[in-house]
Subunit: 194 residues, 2 copies
DNA sequence: GCTCTTAAGGTACTCCACGTACCCTATATC
DNA sequence: GATATAGGGTACGTGGAGTACCTTAAGAGC
């Protein structure tokens, strides 16, 4: 009658899965160690043996949640590719409560430089490579000048989307805002001669 | 022997001052009701009679902290004005720990639409009028086309600065980044014909 | 199969901070 | 002066982070 006590990686995955569920259901503020332990069918000891604090567990769960990154789109036109990328990012941020989770993590990591660094490296910068490949193709097609490949310029669209989530705090930015970002800001900027 | 019990506005100001001090010294996470009460020389009752929760008190304290808004600069050139505005915003956000405070407030307001609305109205949008007046003058001088007056376009610079604080999490963005934002993104965008 | 080390389970605890309840006391107003 | 109002003091209840300690199962070596 399998009492079957889980150990090692198996238990670790169970904890992470439980943490992901708590996170998506209740956000960062609602993720509690007791809650995760109960949901995973274990106790807090097993968690603290692996992650030193609630914040680090939440970060690990968030990385689990966002999962693998996707391939860069290739619609043939710059505008199409950019729209794809921005829609993808929007869908991701809109998900259950991802923007709230990220805000909570950012606030929690504010006074922990180590945690903040991990958060930046593995989350904020995620996908910046996608933008550069898409823009690179547009450069070879001659759609935009080469100077558009500067990181500061290339990341403007995603920065504006992120800003929208931070300041409006809504779930899911409407498509009209995305096209506004693209047509009123991003594309004019990329095409500007200098 | 003047026991002299404070009442009404006098006490209210004392509480707010104490909250501002706690906020600047320890950030949002470090602002505790007991701490504020002790520092103000009063007790929690007096606070809860005025603000229903820690988050609302912190928001009020933050508004007190940022104080009155300034006049729009008028250096004669668009670039000069924009640089002034961005430097001002940077100095403000860099202050003791303002970006951390704002992050904490945002995270706390994430599941309270009312609070989020107040936060937006009185903090995030603060100073957007400044940008529009500065751009308006540049339009009448003929430096940029009139279409630059769209809010989405006008607020790009400050949005990018905010993004810098959110993603880098540092205190004080270096001046080089400000000029990069202005010369590589904002001015080219404003001057782009369409 | 037996022993021994390691890790999980269980539980209870400390600490801290939010928010509330009650009762006492000073202050302003009528 | 009487009385309503608001501040002071204090003690709770609640909930969650993190810790301590002991018991018990799982696997490794022999």
């Amino acid at each position: 009658m399998g009492s079957s006590r889980r150990r090692g990686p198996e238990l670790e995955q169970a904890i992470l899965r439980a943490a992901v569920e708590e996170l998506t259901e209740s956000g960062y503020a609602g993720l509690t160690m007791d809650g995760v332990a109960a949901r995973a069918g274990t106790n807090k000891n097993a968690i603290y043996r692996r992650w030193p604090s609630r914040a680090t567990l939440a970060l690990a769960a968030y990385r689990e949640l966002i999962g693998a990154d996707r391939d860069p789109p290739d619609t043939g036109t710059l505008r199409g590719d950019v729209m794809e990328l921005l829609r993808g990012a929007n869908n991701h941020l809109a998900a259950p409560a991802v923007s709230g989770i990220v805000l909570g993590l950012l606030a929690a990591a504010a006074d922990d430089p180590d945690l903040m660094a991990q958060l930046r490296d593995s989350i904020i910068d995620a996908g910046s490579g996608l933008w550069l490949t898409v823009l690179g193709r547009a450069v070879t097609r001659g759609e935009i000048p080469e100077k558009a490949l500067k990181p500061r310029v290339a990341t403007v669209a995603i920065a504006l989307l992120r800003n929208e989530y931070v300041t409006r705090g809504t779930s899911s930015v409407p498509d009209a805002v995305l096209t506004e970002i693209i047509d009123d800001v991003y594309l004019p900027l990329l095409r500007s001669p200098r």
